[in-house]
């Protein structure tokens, strides 16, 4: 082995150990509170999902989409809401504990409504009620982090 190769190997091993140490340190320390900007992004995303859910509910009520599409599109929206809600599990921004809790509740309510669609989609009135409820959720989310 040349000196250069030994030096490169030593550097590689040191870098790997340093990297693992950094990751272990990150894992051991308390996560930082969420930044206000991140909270606003999450809430905007949830509000967008709520509006999209309302639009979709209107299309289902109007008979403008097929059953498979209605079911799968609501399921995918539900998955998206679930993933976005998970991001709220990080420590809330300082002074934003109440808003974070409220956003989590609204997200969970939205997810429950989306999960109820396969049972409700044959009933136009039920879909219109879902549409109105999603619009209300979007409005509530807007108040937590204005657009």
């Amino acid at each position: 082995m040349t000196r250069l190769e030994i030096a490169a190997l030593a550097f590689g091993v040191a870098a790997a150990i340093g990297g693992l140490g950094f990751l272990a340190h990150r894992a051991a320390t308390q996560p930082e509170p969420m930044e206000a900007g991140e909270f606003a992004r999450i809430v905007r995303q949830l509000a967008s999902d709520a509006r999209e859910s309302a639009q979709l509910a209107a299309l289902v009520a109007g008979g403008q989409v097929n059953g498979h599409y209605a079911r799968a599109a609501h399921e995918k929206l539900g998955d998206d809401v679930k993933d976005t809600r998970k991001r709220l599990e990080a420590p809330p921004p300082r002074g934003g504990e109440e808003a974070t809790r409220k956003a989590g509740e609204l997200a969970q309510h939205m997810k429950d409504l989306l999960d109820s669609v396969p049972r409700a989609m044959a009933d136009r009135d039920a879909m219109r009620r879902l549409q109105a409820e999603h619009q209300r959720i979007a409005g509530d989310l807007d108040r937590l982090a204005p657009r």
Binding site: A40, R41, R44, Q45, A47, S48, R51, E52, Q55, L56, L59, G62, G63, Q64, V65, N66, G67, H68, Y69, R71, A72, A73, K76, L77, D80, D83, A138, D142, R147
Partner: protein
């Protein structure tokens, strides 16, 4: 030159040049910036026309494929880096399309997501395995023409045509739109989505596959100009649909299913089903193109036999590569990653790799000794170098913009 061949080529180009990245970025771009991104479609479409025409001409005149030229011009080491990077981008792109195909199958026939993914990849493997090159290209291209429903939707949603015309001129985002960083991210993303390099590798290798000769150069010109230009019109239609259906309503259409909402709003269930069929064909075609483009790149770079219509034993590396690409797409998509997130990564990283595949083609097309009387004319040369500058700027800006905008979340 056969008129029928030109017609087929143009039709294939319209249906075959829209993939999932383009769908997501265009509809979402319209939702966030109304008509203000339309000028990007014009700039990027001229770029892909220039790039495709040059690549096709070089393939016909030199009779050597893109990645062999790239290795020669950049050297084997740098060439290998570009090969690895572009294969990684192709795997991402293919993964996104596989996820998208599964979602569209669910919208059309129901079923479980993973099962639909397996069904989709099995159908793609069968299509690539059994169809001859020209039929493969044409089948997906023709079925993809169903996407033209978006142009009808754009018209029926009654946009303000003055605003559409003003959108063709670059302008800053308005006060009711996200800020400059997000605007720049969408400009780069849309530019990249239209100029995805795999389309060009597929196109130029296809010219050799279909044994184009010098007599086919007019056909190459017609296919590139008219096919991609009409594809650009379709992309304009997609932005208008996104703007009319979602702009100002607080909706960020980031799911594939949302891109089918405008046709449902305009034409009800018929519009939705036609749009879903078009999307399925377009992203199915894109999955095939990415898999084959990678197989071409790998075999050409390593100077091994290649060709869609060659038997397995004649070109084993080539055939193994496209099969592995599709299976890798299936494997990664099966882990549950979000196909739309993957598509954003693939679009942004594609533009980072783009200058390295564009530059060798431009140099060869500019080389009078190699190209003889088919060398770039003054206009093509000027456009070629202007686009190299634009592509390089986009490549340098792409990753920082992705970080600053939190992948377009704001």
């Amino acid at each position: 030159m056969k008129i029928w061949d030109i017609f087929l080529g143009i039709m294939s180009a319209i249906g075959g040049n829209v993939d999932m990245g383009q769908l997501v970025f265009t509809i979402s771009g319209g939702a966030r910036f109304d008509m203000r991104l339309l000028w990007v479609v014009i700039v990027a479409t001229v770029g892909i026309v220039v790039f495709a025409e040059m690549s096709g001409r070089v393939a016909v005149v030199v009779r050597r494929p893109a990645f062999e030229l790239m290795r020669e011009r950049l050297g084997p080491r740098m060439g290998l880096v570009v090969l690895v990077a572009s294969t990684a981008v192709n795997i991402l792109t293919c993964t996104a399309q596989v996820g998208g195909i599964a979602a569209i199958f669910q919208f059309l026939i129901g079923g479980e997501y993973h099962a639909m993914m397996v069904l989709g990849v099995a159908l793609l493997l069968a299509a690539v395995g059994f169809l001859k090159f020209d039929w493969l290209d044409r089948t997906f291209g023709f079925l993809g023409l169903a996407l033209l429903v978006y142009i009808a939707v754009a018209v029926s949603l009654q946009p303000d045509w003055g605003k559409v015309a003003r959108g063709l001129v670059p302008a800053l985002p308005g006060p009711d739109m996200p800020g400059m960083a997000m605007y720049a991210y969408y400009v780069v993303g849309l530019f990249s989505a239209i100029l995805m390099p795999y389309e060009i590798h597929f196109y130029s290798s296809g010219a050799i596959e279909e044994k184009w000769g010098l007599q086919d150069l007019p056909s190459n010109f017609a296919n590139s100009v008219m096919g991609f230009a009409l594809g650009g019109v379709l992309t304009v239609g997609l932005i208008v649909c996104g703007a009319q259906a979602f702009f100002g309503k607080g909706i960020d259409p980031h799911l594939l299913g949302t891109t089918a909402i405008p046709p449902a709003m305009a034409f009800g269930m018929t519009g939705l089903l036609v749009a879903l069929l078009g999307i399925l064909s377009a992203i199915g075609g894109a999955a095939v193109e990415t898999a084959l483009a990678s197989a071409y790149s790998i075999a050409q770079f390593l100077r091994k036999p290649w060709g869609k219509d060659r038997k397995l034993r004649e070109a084993p590396l080539y055939h193994a590569s496209w099969i592995v690409m599709l299976l890798a797409g299936l494997g990664i998509a099966s882990t549950g990653v979000n196909a739309v997130d993957i598509v954003e990564y693939s679009v942004i990283f594609a533009v980072v790799v783009l200058p390295f595949t564009y530059y060798p083609i431009l140099r060869v097309a500019d080389d009078a000794e190699t190209m003889g009387r088919h060398v770039n004319g003054p206009a093509t040369r000027a456009l070629g170098w202007i686009y190299l500058v634009l592509i390089t700027i986009a490549a340098l800006a792409a990753v920082p913009l992705m970080a600053i905008t939190h992948m377009g979340e704001g």
